[in-house]
């Protein structure tokens, strides 16, 4: 058995002033490891294992550092019995292997700097890919300090590769049969009028038409945001102990992804960012003012900004600083102060919801992605709206405001800019507005057909899609150098007391630029270029006269369901691994050791070994929906079934390749 050659990074002399301790503990439950400890005064002892292990036990050497493990990827064979000898080269770290080591609540493995920890032997009896995680808060990017252990033969990976190809081909076979207006066998015409469902419908209708509804859901979220901001500035600088990080970037971030799929832009219903501005401008918290004089300047919103570009680019910018944003409470606090200030000011200068439509980065992606939602606010019968002259849904009525999102709700057929404020439900005197539940992707084909110059929406899709895959790789992948680049450097932030705003060195800034160019390059240039190339091929294969630009823009809408499922995968990963942080943050919002609600949970990932299965499955579903959506779009755009199928088969190849890449990232 050869030693794993692991030391790629040279340890600096200063950092090597340490003593090594070997701790030995034994456990008896199945594969649970025996944890051993002993002391050594030199690093050589780490490499020169003094113990005589039986021949069937393999020794693997791991170096833990901020924020990764060396080696990043370890391969073992099924049935191997392995002892890990671990040292830390900087601060105290922890060690946890998904599905193999005991729960960190029962037994936390601590690796102090300068000490050798020996863990094992662990018998790797389950094949697949498992994460090694740090279980002791060690710095800003601690939650994302991960490495990989592959237990070969990695059947999970191979079966998901085959599964991806099989589902991709199956979807193509399905669309070859020419299903018209269907999504994976379900008619896109089928809709449920939620407000007329017996039992729940009338209750829901009364709630949504109640003028106090919006205020009732807004003030709790405003209160939570107030806590987020205060916690950001005065709370514990350790991100996972701070409400502003734990609740926003774990709970909110994950829930919004599910919300998009199941409830469209429901987040926009409860979003407090523009609320203060809205209350000031309307001079009312809930009701409709008897005279429609607004406390607002009513300046005209620039036509050039009346699209998604600004929101999309701000979303990308936020993504470029995401390693800082999701780990430094003060950065999050600052961001929300700025967003609330801008939301309030813009509501007063440029009412009504121009901020939400064109500026808000969250609004941009939620709006874009919610077109794949099963939830929509629509007119029951558009012909009634056409006949009705008053158009209260635009102009407003004594019962409700005209659409603050500048839409004609009676005629709109996409979710992009519908903020689900339900004012149209209140203002319509004909009771013609309702909430409809429908199949995913219903609106995509006709949206795509109209999208002749909507580059903003296409690029929003590319940014979201590439970032979805990229985040999984960055935050749950073994490659610590990517995280280091995004984190503006290597090893800074070691001092836990100062992990608020840190000043990175020149090297850190240079690294960040590398990261920014990489992320923005992939999202804005590389993937769109690949997508354009495939669109061009699909045009050639379909033998159509449509300009490639139109095909390219139209097919970009097929990415929306894919995006929703990729991000749902990311959300699942966040929730399963970090669920304890946000729940505990409600009990101790500032990380000061409070226990307000009487519960506190320690970090204890929930069935983390299932993540490769869940994530790969979600990406495969997304892929199938994207292929079917491409066909529906092509059929509407190109006319006949044959042309549509030929065009789809080219784009399907791209979707399958991306799904394979995703499966490789999560399970390979």
């Amino acid at each position: 058995m050869s030693r794993v050659n692991i030391i790629r990074k040279q340890m600096s002399g200063i950092k090597k002033i340490c003593l090594f301790v070997l701790l030995m503990l034994s456990l008896s439950v199945f594969f649970l490891p025996v944890i051993n400890a002993d002391e050594s005064s030199i690093e050589d002892e780490w490499l020169n294992d003094p113990h005589n292990h039986p021949d069937d036990i393999r020794v693997i050497y791991i170096k833990a550092y901020q924020f990764g493990f060396d080696p990043e990827i370890i391969e073992v064979n099924k049935g191997d019995r392995v002892i890990f000898r671990i040292i830390s080269e900087d601060v105290t770290h922890g060690f946890f292997i998904d599905g193999y080591t005991p729960s960190p609540v029962d037994q936390k493995i601590v690796i102090e700097p300068g000490k050798i920890i020996e863990i094992g032997p662990i018998t790797f009896d389950k094949p697949g890919k498992f994460k090694i995680r740090c279980s002791v808060t060690c710095g800003p990017l601690h939650p994302f300090m991960v490495g990989d252990i592959k237990v070969n033969p990695n059947f999970t990976y191979y079966s998901y590769l085959v599964g991806t190809l099989f589902v991709g081909m199956l979807t193509l076979v399905y669309v070859r049969r020419g299903p018209e207006n269907k999504m994976l066998g379900i008619s896109l015409e089928k809709e449920i009028d939620l407000l007329r469902v017996r039992g729940i419908g009338p209750i829901l209708k009364r709630i949504l038409q109640w003028r106090g509804f919006h205020f009732a859901v807004l003030w709790p979220s405003l209160l939570i945001f107030a806590v987020v901001i205060v916690a950001g500035f005065v709370g514990n600088p350790v991100g996972n102990k701070n409400f502003s990080i734990a609740v926003v970037w774990i709970l909110w971030f994950a829930l919004v992804e599910f919300m998009i799929l199941l409830a469209g832009r429901t987040w926009c219903t409860v979003c407090p960012l523009p609320a203060i501005g809205e209350w000031i401008a309307r001079r009312r918290l809930c009701g409709v003012h008897n005279v429609r004089k607004w406390f607002a300047l009513k300046l005209k919103w620039p036509k050039r900004l009346n699209n998604m570009w600004l929101g999309a680019l701000l979303f990308l910018t936020m993504s470029l600083i995401i390693p800082w944003l999701v780990t430094r409470p003060v950065v999050s606090g600052l961001l929300f102060v700025v967003l609330i200030a801008v939301g309030t000011i813009l509501y007063i200068t440029h009412p009504p919801r121009n901020f939400c439509r064109s500026v808000c980065p969250a609004g941009a992606y939620i709006g874009h992605d919610s077109n794949a939602s099963i939830y929509s606010v629509r007119a029951r019968d558009k012909s009634i709206c056409d006949k009705h002259k008053a158009k209260e849904c635009i102009r407003g009525s004594p019962e409700g405001y005209g659409c603050p999102w500048k839409l004609y709700p009676g005629g709109h057929d996409e979710n992009t800019y519908c903020g689900q404020c339900y004012e149209c439900l209140k203002s319509c005197p004909l009771d013609n507005m309702t909430v409809k539940i429908r199949m995913i992707g219903k609106d995509l084909a006709h949206m795509a057909a109209k999208a002749k110059n909507k580059f903003d929406e296409a690029w929003m899709g590319f940014i979201r899609f590439t970032l979805g895959v990229f985040y999984i790789l960055v935050f749950f992948g073994p490659y610590s150098w990517i995280r280091d680049w995004g984190n503006m450097g290597v090893n800074f932030g070691a001092n836990l007391a100062s992990i608020g705003l840190l000043t990175p060195g020149v090297e850190g800034v240079v690294n960040w630029f590398k990261w920014a160019i990489m992320v923005a390059g992939v999202a804005l240039v590389a993937y769109p270029a690949v997508f354009y190339t495939f669109s061009w091929f699909s045009k050639k294969v379909a033998k159509t006269d449509q300009p490639t630009k139109h095909i390219f823009l139209a097919f970009s809408y097929a990415l929306i369901p894919y995006i929703v499922f990729i991000w749902a995968a990311f959300a699942v990963a966040i929730l399963l691994v970090f669920w304890a942080y946000p729940i505990t943050a409600f009990s101790d919002p500032f990380g000061w050791g409070w226990n307000l609600l009487g519960f506190k949970f320690k970090w204890d990932p929930f069935i983390p070994q299932s993540l490769p299965y869940v994530l790969a499955s979600l990406s495969i579903i997304g892929m199938a929906l994207a292929i079917n959506s491409t066909y529906n779009i092509a059929r509407k755009m190109l006319g006949g079934h044959d042309k549509a199928f030929r065009a789809t088969s080219v784009m399907a190849l791209l979707h399958i390749l991306v799904a394979i890449a995703f499966v490789w990232v999560v399970a390979g």
Binding site: N290, K293, H388, A390, R395, S397, P398, P429, L430, D431
Partner: protein, 153 residues
């Protein structure tokens, strides 16, 4: 000129009466003593007068506010007849159209008057028109009510 104005006013009065008779008075619920107040009978018109006056006073846009007043009229009728919605588009359009016309008429009156006295004060041109309106509608309503009672007998 004055005759033209009077004719316009008369035509408007009749339009309002007709739409209220068909869409409002017929659906009104009488009280225990088989009575209805004068205020209730002309409530939608009053609401439009009130709204237009407030909007005009607040220096709002005439076109948009008179159109909105159509909805004020419509909602006042719906509210008066104990409804939140109507499923009849024709009814909604009719009420909106008449309400809008009424609002334009009132707005023009306000623009012409130098002082723009409050309709509620009972003085000034607009107050006079309001008085005429409510009296006219009350008389018309009584005849409708009388016919209705006759039919019921």
């Amino acid at each position: 000129m004055k005759n033209g104005h009077e004719a316009e006013k008369k035509e408007l009065f009749q339009k309002v009466r007709d739409v209220l008779r068909d869409r409002y008075w017929n659906k009104l619920v009488f009280g225990a003593r088989n009575t209805l107040s004068k205020d209730k009978v002309s409530r939608p018109v009053h609401d439009v007068f009130e709204y237009v006056y407030s909007a005009w006073e607040s220096d709002l846009d005439k076109r948009s506010e008179t159109a909105y007043s159509g909805s004020v009229f419509l909602y006042s009728v719906l509210k008066g007849t104990g409804r939140r919605f109507t499923s009849d588009v024709t009814e909604a359009n009719e009420l909106h159209e008449v309400g809008k016309e009424l609002a334009s008429f009132v707005w023009e009156k306000l623009e012409k008057s130098s002082s723009g006295k409050d309709v509620r004060n009972g003085d000034g041109t607009l107050a006079e028109i309001w008085y005429q309106f409510s009296e006219y509608l009350w008389e018309e309503f009584k005849s409708v009510k009388f016919r209705r009672m006759e039919e019921e007998k």
